[in-house]
Symmetry: C2
Subunit: 357 residues, 2 copies
Amino acid sequence: MVKTIEWVGGKVIMLDQSRLPVDVAYIECDNYLKVAEGIKKLWIRGAPAIGIAAAMGIALAARDIKAEDFESFISQLEPAIETILSTRPTAVNMKWAANRLKALLNSRRDESVSGLKELLVEESQKILDEDLQVNKAIGMWGEQFINDGDTILTHCNAGALATGGYYGTATAPMRVAKEMGKNFHVIADETRPVLQGARLTAWELMQDKIPVTLITDNTAGALMQRGEINLVIVGTDRTALNGDVANKIGTYSVAVLCKEHGIPFYVAAPLSSIDFNIPSGDQIPIEERGSEEVTDVFGKCKIAPEGVKVRNIAFDVTPAKYVTAIITEKGAFKPEDLKKLSGVEAEIDKLRIKIRK
Amino acid sequence: MVKTIEWVGGKVIMLDQSRLPVDVAYIECDNYLKVAEGIKKLWIRGAPAIGIAAAMGIALAARDIKAEDFESFISQLEPAIETILSTRPTAVNMKWAANRLKALLNSRRDESVSGLKELLVEESQKILDEDLQVNKAIGMWGEQFINDGDTILTHCNAGALATGGYYGTATAPMRVAKEMGKNFHVIADETRPVLQGARLTAWELMQDKIPVTLITDNTAGALMQRGEINLVIVGTDRTALNGDVANKIGTYSVAVLCKEHGIPFYVAAPLSSIDFNIPSGDQIPIEERGSEEVTDVFGKCKIAPEGVKVRNIAFDVTPAKYVTAIITEKGAFKPEDLKKLSGVEAEIDKLRIKIRK
């Protein structure tokens, strides 16, 4: 499996996902502005992956700061952090990663500036390393929803490429189910406009020899109507405390179709993507992007009239009532139980959805 | 307004819609096989337009037949008709046009073969000429559903380009509303895979200076959720006697979203697209097309991994229960009333939906 992002020799190396599956090319970022550019231009995308990228970008920014003391160091680092966070507003993982690094720095104010810089490099690597474990745990809690012979629909890419490691988030239950010997089939929505389903999900599942069929986003409803979809698993860029789920545009339509057809709709959500600070989805900022993603497919094929007006809303919010379960590294939960996850472990265990008793 | 199809000097001239909006180019067909190729390859598309094309193709096929008597003429014409009808299975208009021409021939068995050939040319021209009137009537019965200030979503292209004339079917209520001075805004779903919304609907509405915004198919749900869509009007390739509507893939998803949001869902359907011979939509043959329409956007931009498996279902069936009204040239009706349209005019008038009493 190709690596999404790595810290090598003081540089951040990221797979340029905007060129997949035509080219497998890597971009070297030796300063944080290049990392910010990569996040903005979707060289790297996927909530967990851009969380890791933000952390590494902050470590790069820190390295280039000239400061003698903690206050001066922090005051120079802050604007760089803001620049990175401003690239994409919807996913909360970048903010989560930045807060984690800032909390670490604040707890080590007595360190030398060079020591602080080193800490940031180590912590961003730790975030990357933990990502694999988190996603594996999502897979282990989520595989129970996949039965032998199932056909699973997914939207966008919440796969390995959206994370730092092999399992991915929405694909983690699939990869664990495969390790357990279950047979299933994946339907990948192509996911216009940026086509992460066609370019990334289909590609990475084919690499792993997981059977996958590509459809246009328009086809999901017809397949559900024909009884050809057993369950849906998607990822999330930010989930609110009440269980409202922001994810790639079109996810809400899939959820409504699931309700209409009685198909379970699961969301794979590492805790880093759950925003415990906002009560509901209507407070999640929704990114709107440029029209050229719609009018010029893959950055080169013009498919619409010159000068046409476009609305390119990048995400939508699926209200909690459409969500069957949210699968985290701590277990699968009903969306309304997210707010209870800060409780003690024995209480949390009672909330876990367990199909196999 | 450009002409979709014309009979000029013994040839069928069709606008090559597969190249719009990049090129405005015409293709000359001097034999029926070229017309069949044009229908198959979507140089011409849209249920009413391919009905006209089929009629003209049959007239071309007839012209090249060498026969001395009616029986010989018909027996040679039949295989050509079958070839034309086999190009696309879902729309019923080609069959409707062929049946109309065959009935005409059967009623004039005493004509000379050259007279029969002339009759077919005249009748196919008549089908084209009537199309404009039919669509204008759809517009006049349908404009009542459009209020000043409305935003109307449409899917695929059931516009002028889908017909022989100016009004189109789904766009006819819009064009009549515009003639009446109403202000409204159109949202065009781009309509993957063949992008008729982006390439054709946006283009023709821009030509007419009707305000239009292009969105990906994924965005319709989010706009409905935000309360930004007042009504939906789509066309149909074949509507069954019970009011089930076959139309471009993705139409069903739009209809389900309309139900979820309490948004009226209208279908503009010339009587030539209503199949009074089949009781319900599950008997409508649904065309599946090649994978390259999904994997290679606009025939040239590869957007998916080499060798990926694809399902390219070209149409879906929206059950009558999702349809607010079917707008025909005889009036707007509840889908369940279609079966009563063969009654006497006074009875039909009682069934008409009239918002302005």
